[in-house]
């Protein structure tokens, strides 16, 4: 194969890897939004926090796999605490329409708080998480080489995605969750324990962000600014894909991943303007996003 083709394919896989990570974060984001109407600005901060948790667990135990197991669970725990202790507390005020403003500001506060807490605990110097021995190195195929770890990320995300799909579309729990995402009031009237489902979905969403955070840690360095780009990107994904639409989030994540990879190739420097311009356009023409299901 010639060099150009190799490069194009490589870029494609780079885009896939980032798109998959983005989808893991954005899927939780969009699920939470679709269900509870909460735009959790702090969602990407959980992603960043998970990377630090992974770093810390590896400092203690040295095992990446342990980190991959434990850190997302810890993050999900934090997410559930946030939902139970904070978001629920706000809903107690019976704020009417204004509850949206308060929830948004709460998540803004939590975002800043997580970032600053991380800086105070771990400092602003980047930290390095090493991939396990098994996943280091390169894989050869069709005359090209590619890092194993990125392939692992793609595989991991795919299996999580599959698992998520199975749970959501094949189990009773999934039915309940999807019903609650579509119409929480109606689900409540049909006897679903909506608050419990809310907590579950919040936990699930933050768990997904946690998985993404741990998976990203060895690919990148771990530093407090990790959340910023991820937050903006997942915003774009959720706004374009349609609030609450998993399918939309998947499509846009992939597109965005590829656009980032090929944008660097073909029009470096302008991707921010193009992306946000497109997002603004879609939001004004179709406020429910490209794949939005709800009015």
């Amino acid at each position: 194969m010639d060099a150009i083709a190799v490069m194009l394919i490589t870029q494609g896989i780079h885009g896939l890897a980032y798109g998959m990570l983005l989808f893991l974060v954005a899927s939780g984001f969009t699920l939470i939004f679709g269900m509870m109407g909460i735009l959790n600005i702090a969602h990407a901060s959980f992603f960043m926090l998970a990377a630090y948790f992974a770093f810390q667990i590896m400092q203690w135990s040295g095992s990446f796999w342990l980190a991959l197991l434990l850190a997302p669970i810890a993050i999900a725990g934090l997410g559930i605490l946030m939902e139970r202790l904070m978001l629920r507390q706000i809903r107690k005020f019976k704020l009417g329409k204004a509850v949206v403003l308060f929830e948004l500001m709460l998540t803004v506060g939590i975002m800043v708080c997580i970032e600053e807490a991380v800086k105070n605990l771990w400092g602003t110097d980047p930290e390095i998480v090493n991939a396990p021995e098994l996943l280091r190195g390169l894989v050869q195929f069709f005359g090209m080489t590619y890092p194993v770890y990125r392939i692992f990320i793609i595989g991991l995300s795919c299996s999580i995605l599959l698992l998520l799909g199975l749970i959501l579309f094949k189990t009773r729990l999934g039915n309940v969750v999807r019903a609650a995402v579509q119409d929480a009031d109606m689900a409540g009237a049909l006897g679903v324990n909506v608050p419990l489902v809310f907590t579950l979905v919040f936990g699930l969403g933050t768990w997904l962000a946690g998985i993404a955070g741990v998976a990203a840690a060895p690919m990148l360095t771990v530093f407090p600014g990790l959340a910023n780009q991820m937050m903006l990107d997942s915003f774009i994904v959720v706004a374009l894909g349609g609030f609450g639409s998993l399918f939309g989030a998947f499509v846009i994540s992939m597109l965005l991943g590829e656009l980032t990879a090929f944008g660097i190739q073909f029009f470096p420097g302008y991707s921010t303007i193009i992306l946000f311009g497109f997002m603004a356009l879609v939001l004004t023409i179709r406020p429910s996003g490209l794949f939005g299901e709800k009015e």
Partner: protein, 336 residues
């Protein structure tokens, strides 16, 4: 009668305090006061959208930035531009940005409005960086001349003197705040509040909601622009991170929430509290933001009326306030 007398006394005290501030304080404290006043005006203009129209903007900094860059550009590029016209250019450019964006912004509300404004401020950030030959990019613009104020029959007033500049800008800021307050009292102001409560009903009363929203946006942007413009003069500098950075849209929002939503004057208290907090934390700058975010979280969780609510609670006007608070913003549409 007695109430009104007390009100006048309070105003007289505030004015006297502001007038004597340069005598009482050093340059450093004076600058602190002026900086806080600028951000108070910025927060007030945001509050016009937030408390009075129920729109949460995550990109209000773009209007502030337009004002700042407008003033800085006209002072850099145009020799002999007078002080007031520089401020006017700042405010006008902010209004212009608002009007250009308004066809898109007035159609939406809630989360979509928040995300759209955020997207636009991101675009503006990227644009300012792209046109770095004009805006100075990261380095920003600084050291532009600050013309003296020309008052007919009085003469020139030199603005490089801290005290003169303080009196000048505090008058501009105070006047703007008063105009904004009056704006909320006009018939149009009541339309604004009604739109917050129930835009559908406002439409079915025959009012043009999108047009009204565009006007509110323009007014709010204009005053944010004035704040930005005075800010550019005050700092004699505009930088992209300072006016469009990640936290610059959140800071006035946080001020509004800490001060108290649903009231006109809340953001002023919020800004005051924020400034004092930052001063107290000046020995530990690395923890200032953490404390700030914790204060915000606790206000949202335990004191949704902000500092004003606390004040009223203390002065045992709690019952009055609760009614006011509930009617003003919290009840919203209780059926929905």
């Amino acid at each position: 009668m007695k109430n009104s007398f007390r009100k006048w006394l309070l105003w007289a005290a505030i004015l006297a305090g502001l007038y004597t501030a340069p005598v009482l304080f050093g340059v450093f404290e004076l600058n602190l006061l002026l900086g806080a006043s600028i951000f108070a005006l910025f927060s007030l203009s945001l509050n016009l959208l937030l408390s009075f129209t129920g729109l949460l903007s995550f990109g209000h900094a773009m209007f502030f930035a337009s004002g700042a860059y407008g003033t800085a550009l006209v002072l850099t590029r145009l020799d002999g531009c007078s002080l007031l016209s520089a401020i006017f250019v700042g405010a006008a450019s902010a209004v212009l940005v608002a009007l250009v964006l308004s066809p898109l912004l007035v159609r939406v509300g809630g989360h979509t409005f928040a995300m759209l404004t955020m997207a636009f401020s991101q675009i503006m950030y990227a644009t300012v960086m792209k046109f770095s030959h004009l805006t100075g990019g990261n380095d920003g613009m600084s050291g532009f001349p600050i013309p003296p104020l020309v008052i007919p029959a009085v003469g020139l007033i030199d603005m490089s003197l801290e005290r003169n500049f303080y009196y000048f800008s505090i008058s501009i800021l105070g006047l703007s705040a008063w105009v904004m307050w009056f704006f909320t009292r006009t018939p149009f102001g009541s339309i604004m509040v009604s739109i917050r409560d129930n835009p559908d009903r406002v439409t079915y009363l025959g009012f043009n909601v999108p047009l009204s929203k565009a006007i509110i946006l323009g007014v709010s942007a204009g005053f944010a622009g004035v704040a930005g413009s005075v800010y550019a003069l005050f700092q004699n500098m505009v930088s992209v991170d300072g006016v469009l950075g990640p936290l610059s849209s959140f800071t006035p929002l946080i001020n509004c929430f800490i001060g108290g939503l649903g009231t006109f004057i809340g953001p002023v208290f919020g800004t005051g509290i924020g400034t004092i907090l930052l001063e107290l934390m000046s020995a530990h700058p690395e923890q200032a933001q953490l404390v700030f975010s914790l204060v915000l979280i606790s206000v949202v969780l335990f004191l949704p009326g902000g500092a004003i609510m606390l004040y009223w609670k203390i002065t045992s006007r709690w019952i009055v306030l609760r009614n006011k608070f509930q009617t003003a913003i919290l009840k919203g549409n209780h059926e929905s």
